[in-house]
């Protein structure tokens, strides 16, 4: 098995190195190393976006969740449709804003629009959370999986080091373009192997566990029903939840956190480095909401039923079963899981490092770097990032897994900032900032690190993680919206408004959306809200027995599969239609490049935050860079 495992790992690794070498041979401009010259083609976005969003959600963990909590956890895959919706709402306008403002990274777009370095710093913090704790968590899981699959022939620690060093070499050599190419390859591989494994489990392994015995969920968990709209629980670690964690509000609030991945600076960076095209709509509708979500909804229960849900090493039983059937089948399982984990690790780590280079090194630290020096600086930042990740994954994996959940929760607090940039010019800088800060604090104190910090330093908090079975991201967003609107009431017509209106005037002039008449507009928004209410909101509890015990009929229908699963599939289909309607028909994701004037506001003094290097930073850099000369003078 070890020989086979080596071969299946060497082939994708060889592809990565080969592509990196090819790109470095072709791309001569050093600054293109960071952002591929913002000229990635449509197909890269189409495949990579779906792969990154699904990897960010963590199919590895979600399969274990479905194995532990049954079909209530399978409902979480509908949050992928929400990611498509969020993409449709924001991705196009963010892209247009970046081209109009002449900005290269998401932080720069927001900083210029709101004229606020604080938003830039907030976005950098979010990018850091994705690039280091979340990437460390993925790397740690990948290394653990590799160690377990090789029966200890490769230790977890050495796997962490090998993967870390290899990823640095290929990213340092090929830059952003090579990273996106490899992301595409891993996305395709992950998707195809998921289909293959689903097919093998349902046809070749004998009795299908899902149909003979069902999911082996934890004791006391409702296997095929949502345990209520919400439960009055103090949160995980405080009071137990009856019937399972995934109440209707838990599912809805989890979808809110999933949106955090779709609006994270790391994911937005992929969109900003892509050429103008129709790839946004295609990816959001067909790849993310359609194929990505559909495959997981349809096949995940079959795979999860083969797992030992409650154990840490949940995949071992399935791996053994597949390997006993055929070595290649076992290898396919490991490769599928590794592809998802490594995709998440490499993409989030490298995108975070590149954002840091663009926004801190090239802007504040060394603003006059030559093209080649930019390439060098990006490699240095990559080296530091990977070193940090490798040390956390290798020696403090608990640190990574504790802080990783903060990434999506804190990222979704950017929601109001996105709304302001894309749709609501009356949302002022102070309103957005106040909302974000309060929202982030609430997320921190309803997640593991905040709870541990408070419990250890002060007194035990009365709530645990996710109180009332509502995800920390949703608690944060609720507080965020409240404070944001409260502040916006008082300064929505301030002097900054005209500054922000410039961009919205261009949106209204050249990039109109086609919502149709009042009736059509009402239908679109009301359908979206009804969908959200029934699919991932309180209405989802209707799905528990909507098809097995139809109301008013008084009869029991034997479907053969749980009513909740049918409900989920039905709302997945409606969800795809909804995303299609908004992305294509309403043109929320279709870009009209004919009317796009590149850099129209790039030189506008009111919208340009000059790349000024702070004085103390300039003195520090000067002192460090001129040190040898001073020493020689002293001699």
């Amino acid at each position: 098995m070890q020989g086979l495992l080596t071969i299946i790992l060497v082939v994708p690794a060889a592809y990565a190195l080969y592509m990196a070498a090819q790109v470095s041979r072709h791309v001569k401009n050093g600054s293109d190393h960071l952002d591929a010259g913002a000229s990635l083609t449509n197909w890269t976005y189409i495949f990579a976006a779906a792969g990154v969003l699904i990897a960010g959600l963590g199919p590895f963990d979600h399969l274990r969740l479905v194995a532990t909590y049954g079909f209530q956890a399978n409902m979480l895959f509908l949050s992928i449709v929400c990611m498509g919706l969020a993409g449709a709402l924001f991705q196009k306008r963010l892209w247009i804003a970046s081209r109009i403002l002449g900005s290269k990274s998401p932080g720069e777009v927001f900083a210029r629009y709101y004229d606020s370095p604080s938003i830039r710093i907030y976005m950098l913090c979010v990018a850091f959370l994705f690039a280091v704790p979340l990437a460390s968590y993925f790397l740690s899981e990948a290394a653990g999986l590799l160690a377990s699959a090789s029966s200890g022939a490769i230790s977890r620690l050495s796997a962490v080091f090998y993967i870390g060093i290899f990823s640095f070499i290929f990213a340092g050599l090929g830059g952003w373009r090579a990273v996106v190419y490899v992301t595409v390859a891993l996305s395709v591989l992950m998707g195809l192997l998921f289909i293959l494994l689903g097919g093998l489990i349902t046809t070749a392994l004998g009795d299908v566990a899902l149909l003979h015995g069902g999911l082996k969920v934890a004791q006391g968990v409702l296997v095929d029903a949502i345990p209520g709209v919400l439960q009055f629980s103090g949160g995980m670690g405080r009071t137990p939840v009856e019937g399972g964690l995934w109440t209707a509000l838990a599912i809805g609030s989890f979808a809110v956190s999933a949106v955090g991945i779709a609006i994270s600076p790391n994911f937005s960076f992929l969109g900003l480095t892509t050429k103008p095209s129709g790839s946004f709509a295609f990816s959001q509708v067909w790849m993310v909401a359609g194929i990505g979500s559909g495959l997981l909804i349809g096949l995940a229960p079959f795979i999860a039923a083969e797992l030992e849900g409650n154990k840490l090493d949940a995949f071992q039983a399935l791996f053994k079963k597949l390997s006993d059937f055929d070595g290649m089948a076992g290898a396919a399982l490991i490769l599928m899981l590794l592809a998802g984990l490594l995709l998440g690790f490499a993409y989030f780590a490298i995108s975070g490092a590149n954002i840091f280079t663009l926004e801190v090194v090239n802007r504040y630290l060394l603003p006059k770097l030559s093209s080649d020096a930019q390439r060098l600086s990006s490699r240095i930042v990559l080296a530091v990032t990977f070193t940090l990740i490798v040390f956390i994954s290798g020696f403090a994996p608990a640190l990574g897994s504790s802080f990783a959940p903060l990434a999506a929760g804190i990222s979704v607090q950017l929601f109001m900032a996105y709304l302001g940039l894309c749709w609501m010019p009356w949302l002022s800088r102070s309103a957005v900032l106040v909302g974000m800060c309060f929202g982030a604090l609430v997320v921190f104190f309803t997640e593991v690190p905040g709870l541990i910090l408070f419990d250890k330093l002060f007194v035990s908090l009365p709530w645990g993680r996710w109180p009332l079975t509502v995800h920390s991201a949703a608690w944060g967003l609720l507080v965020n919206i409240f404070f944001c609107l409260l502040v916006a009431i008082f300064n929505r017509k301030g002097a900054e408004r005209s500054h922000r209106d410039q961009l919205h005037d261009i949106f209204a002039r050249d990039h109109k959306t086609d919502f149709g008449g009042r009736a059509a507009q009402g239908a679109k928004w009301s359908l979206t809200l009804i969908w959200a209410f029934l699919a991932i909101g309180p209405g989802a509890v209707l799905g528990n027995n909507f098809f097995s015990k139809p109301i008013f009929s008084g009869i029991d229908v034997k479907l053969g599969i749980p009513s909740l699963w049918v409900w989920e599939i039905l709302f997945w289909v409606i969800g795809v239609f909804l995303v299609w309607w908004l992305a294509y028909r309403t043109q929320l994701s279709v870009i009209n490049t004919e009317r796009l004037r590149l850099g129209e506001l790039a030189e506008d003094p009111r919208l340009v935050t000059i790349a000024r290097q702070p004085k103390w930073l300039k003195q520090l850099v000067d002192r460090l860079s001129n040190r040898p000369a001073q020493t020689s003078r002293a001699r």
């Binding site: 592509m19 790109v23 001569k28 083609t41 190419y181 390859a185 395709v188 192997l193």
Partner: protein
């Protein structure tokens, strides 16, 4: 041709190359897994699906060519023919040396090879026309003496 245009053309070619490789990486792995399963377990369903994955990979490659407005590169043709010839040789030798074990799989494998060949010929005729497709294999003319003008 300016440097910038050169770079754009090269990048387009690199883009296409990366996409083709990414697609084949996935489809080839699935195909190899299914073909191995089919042969080891004498399962003609798995074998047929293995050939189907190769066929879908080929169709995806053709679609890439259509999107990028290109043809198969000489290296791709050479690699494809080489792999196809090796597989065909292996099949012939297997039938010859182990007829009792491989006879049950003869039909699905033979149908698979025929299907792949048909797909390739169909693509060539669609893209190049009958004459063009024939001329692609007309080695005698290509390596023969040059015509007098």
């Amino acid at each position: 041709m300016t440097d910038r245009e050169m770079t754009d053309r090269e990048l387009k070619s690199l883009d296409r190359h990366a996409l083709v490789m990414a697609l084949w990486l996935g489809f080839a792995f699935v195909a190899v897994t299914l073909l191995k399963l089919g042969i080891d377990h004498t399962d003609w369903w798995a074998l047929s699906l293995g050939f189907a994955s190769v066929l879908i990979g080929f169709i995806a490659h053709v679609l890439v060519n259509i999107v990028f407005k290109t043809l198969f590169t000489p290296r791709e043709v050479a690699l494809g023919l080489f792999v196809f010839a090796i597989c065909l040789l292996w099949f012939g030798l297997a039938v010859f040396f182990y007829p009792q074990h491989r006879l049950s799989l003869f039909l699905p494998i033979a149908v698979g090879f025929v299907a792949l060949t048909t797909a390739v010929i169909f693509t060539m005729i669609t893209w190049l026309g009958v004459r063009g497709a024939f001329e692609s294999f007309d080695i005698i003319r290509r390596f023969g003496p040059e015509k007098k003008r």
